[in-house]
Symmetry: C2
Subunit: 540 residues, 2 copies
């Protein structure tokens, strides 16, 4: 899997101060070796959806593997904590590592749901708490943005291509890198972020900007005007060929020659001379239909005559559905007029402030866009900019802990638990089932009573065709024990995971909730503990 060495900020001090304060209080009270189990989970799917893609695991494991305070960290902590904090505590911290911790987790790229523990962290309570904030920070945004990408992806057919263009508007340089990485996991096909390409092997994409077009004012700005034919090797008068094709296009496309901006034409020509195999023109600097498209097609035709193939054009403003259809129509007319079939299917890229709703609206209208370039709203998760993963104590020294709340959704499911996904005959997931650790595993083709964790009356018998145990023990004995997939494998797995859900769980509008259930035994256990923990109120 791709390296995460760039993230020098992922280190033990990337935590909330109270974790360090609590660590001292545990240590001071000789409670730090208490054996704890914490669940990391979220309570609500993001974006009003009914699924989430789990991401960030590899970075969590590398953080745990490399967990070591530096001397400069200790020196800094001495300036922050009171002077009476004992020296032995700092000596304890500097030698602390995570070798005696255990981390169980669902695989990265899994489809996950509210309340199921994504990770279970076991070991001395002081260490489990020192990990909390950083693990949450690593899982929260990774899962959020991967889910966002998967939602964009699910809006259209699989024949469309999606590129992430969010670097300049992302929440910090590393927010941008995380977004590029996890959008790829969520199903995007590439990114404009070159560093993400270098670090994670993600395909990088991009051509030119409006400034490139504006930098040419007239054809006189052209310093190179020739191009070598790819087949014959002959040097051709490329600029003049483009001008000639533009004139020939007038009756075919029905535009006025003077309205086609000659600076724009010069810019396209210069770009095609630099990248004859990679010509993708940005056509909306002046007027898309009166100037950009004719200029683009003139250059595409001249390239074709030189035995090159243009890639396509990009729309970055205006009514994208309408314009894409008009552009495709002009492609078709040109294709017919010059008898060049490939012109008809040139790529149309669209990239103007697209969010999920705009994408849905484009799909409802007809459009002829092949590739979407999506930036701001994808990487900053405009619709919901944070996922609310929490990290809750569920067991201490072998005794289960329950956290109560007035708000039922905030009550924790106590104890260490196993998790299974039950599949139906069609291979689609039926529901998730949590069990107590000491319960027998559910079996395929066996009827199982699945209960809602909180609502007594909600229950169902499920006879799964297959049963999948969800957890792997990833970290134990100071090593990453369970093999991690390559980043390409993780991406493929994520796509398969989404395919394993019924479509009504995935759709954007009013999706059907997926059921997360508990066994009858776990239900009884947790509700017994719950009622024992609530004192009977007194009214007078």
């Amino acid at each position: 899997m791709a390296s995460a060495e760039y993230s020098s900020v992922v280190q033990p001090l990337l935590t909330d101060l109270y974790q360090i304060s609590m660590a001292y209080a545990y240590w001071k009270n000789n409670k730090h070796q208490d054996q704890s189990a914490f669940d990391l989970y979220f309570r609500k799917n993001p974006f009003d959806g009914e699924f989430t893609l789990f991401a960030g695991l590899e970075e969590c494991l590398k953080f745990v593997r490399d967990y070591r305070f530096q001397q400069s960290d200790i020196d800094y902590l001495r300036t922050v904590l009171p002077s009476y904090v004992e020296n032995e505590f700092y000596e304890y911290l500097i030698q602390l590592d995570m070798k005696d911790m255990k981390i169980y987790s669902i695989p990265e790229g899994s489809v996950v749901f509210p309340r199921i523990p994504l990770l279970r962290i076991e070991g001395p309570i002081i260490k489990a708490q020192l990990l909390e904030t950083t693990l949450l920070a690593l899982v929260n945004f990774a899962s959020l943005v991967a889910t966002n990408a998967a939602r964009f992806r699910a809006t259209t057919g699989s024949d469309k291509t999606f590129h992430e263009f969010g670097l300049r508007r992302a929440q910090g340089p590393d927010g941008a890198l995380s977004a590029s990485k996890y959008c790829y996991l969520g199903g995007f096909d590439g990114t404009s972020n070159v560093l993400a390409g270098k670090l994670f092997g993600i395909p990088v994409k991009g051509t030119h900007a409006h400034a490139y077009v504006s930098s040419y004012k007239t054809m006189d700005d052209l310093k190179l005007r020739e191009l070598r034919d790819q087949t014959t090797g002959e040097v051709r008068p490329f600029a003049q060929m483009c001008v000639d094709y533009l004139e020939k296009l007038v009756p075919i496309l029905g535009f006025i020659l003077d309205e086609a901006n000659s600076g724009e034409l010069a810019a396209f020509i210069s770009y095609a001379i630099a990248f004859p195999t990679g010509f993708l023109g940005l056509v909306d600097t002046y007027d898309v239909l009166k100037s950009g498209v004719p200029n683009f097609l003139a250059v595409a035709l001249a390239l074709h005559e030189c035995h090159y193939q243009a890639i396509g054009l990009r729309l970055d403003s205006g009514d994208l559905a309408y314009l894409s259809l008009e552009v495709r129509d002009r492609f078709t007319r040109t294709s017919v007029a010059f008898n060049i079939p490939t012109i008809k299917t040139l790529t149309i890229v669209a990239s103007n402030d697209i969010n999920e709703n705009i994408l849905m609206s484009l799909e409802k209208q007809q459009h002829a866009i092949d590739t979407f370039g999506i930036g701001t709203h994808l990487v900053t998760c405009q619709k919901q900019p944070a996922l609310g993963c929490v990290y809750k104590l569920v067991e201490l020294n072998g005794s289960p802990r329950i956290k109560l709340s007035q708000d039922i959704s905030k009550v924790t499911i106590p104890g260490r638990k196993n998790l299974f996904r039950l599949y139906g005959q069609d291979g689609k997931a039926l529901c998730d089932l949590m069990t107590k650790m000491d319960e027998e595993e559910p079996k395929a083709r066996t009827r199982i009573l699945c209960r809602h964790p909180f609502l007594e009356k909600k229950r169902a018998y499920v006879t799964p065709s297959s049963v999948h145990a969800m957890y792997n023990l990833y970290w134990t004995d100071g090593e990453i024990r369970h093999p991690l997939p390559t980043w390409e494998e993780a991406r493929k797995f994520a796509q398969e995971q989404i395919q394993s859900l019924r479509k009504d769980h995935i759709r954007n509008l009013n999706p059907t909730p997926y059921k997360v259930s508990v066994t009858d035994e776990l239900y009884s256990f947790m509700h017994q503990l719950w009622i024992e923990s609530v004192p009977i109120g007194e009214l007078s």
Copy 2:
């Protein structure tokens, strides 16, 4: 100013691929040395507000100073660009630096407005474009989150304290660090993020979490029960003293002893033994008024008897306005009953998913909160998770460029410009004024015609009491020439900048727009260029 060495990801490849493609196209066409000027600005204040805090400049300058491609970057680019890209281009890239660029900027922490250039980047067009994406990435989120912090800060009186608690929900680890850094600039008083404290010298804050309280089930879990009196040095039976105080509090606070959770009391006692000078109890793990507050006060009284002073308590759920008033009432009753005045003014911290609207609503109700801990909505900028800074070519080889658009707000103001802020007699800013570079500077106590840049009929004569030139030349001759403030100085400057605005520009609801104007000369110049650039349409 604080070091930014942590951001190893801020490097030349942290850019969009099209900047590199364009660089090659400029180079190939021998256009790369064209002398350009680009303006970096935004078009709309974030959060439906009427001001923005400009931030990120120091990081921009350090990026420019250190700009160098590594050999591994070049090796990677060779795999991304077509094979016919000439070797000389890579040789050009590897030796490229930013020594012949000039960067003019407004000081970091300035209050800024739509359309005014925050930075002007001058130099060879190839270099100006290679800087674009990274400069935008560095300014966009820094300015957005600093502005968000300033808005939270402006909602309450200056006697309140604000802490940033957003690390776990931020958009990536570095998104969290940027947030901590720039929230401090925007007026916050501290952060929970320890690494931000270490790297930037920001005060770090925090105490303990619910898990700490849950980790104690009964008083039997206490391993230490004694505390040394701070004044006398005598070892006191601290746990027993707390139990005794709790009993004494029953008639004063009117709670039922059995409903005060003894695990919670044990947790508070252990925490106070570890941090006798830093006791701040989280009181909502069970029931705030029936358990948390009595337990907290019992420990606070015992600490007082041992000549320590508790700090206060934290509310993390429920009706914060109501609970804070109830808590203050109990503080007062206890203060009176035991004749300890300091109990009455113990700090009340509130921290449950607070956003700007909740803060405003708390202010409208009465509340007794002293300190706000704000996380998710602050650092991810829930109300608007991205600022839309753009980077536009305004001059090339001495000739002004204008970018037209159907949307007037997207039309650029051409040419290199100067910027002045005009102040009234009361010291408040009246308006900003852009001039052509060759115009005379506006003078104090002289009547100046200030025009709206787009609307012909909107204009006013302004006679400022003082005039401030906004730009400094920060980067020239390969050096950061203009001295940078320390981070504390930048924060102080930002607060003064906000004070320099009229209150109606700052208020949260329907603030008054601040006027950004141009001189009559600049107005005429730009509109002449505009009309020359628009071909007259033909209808038939």
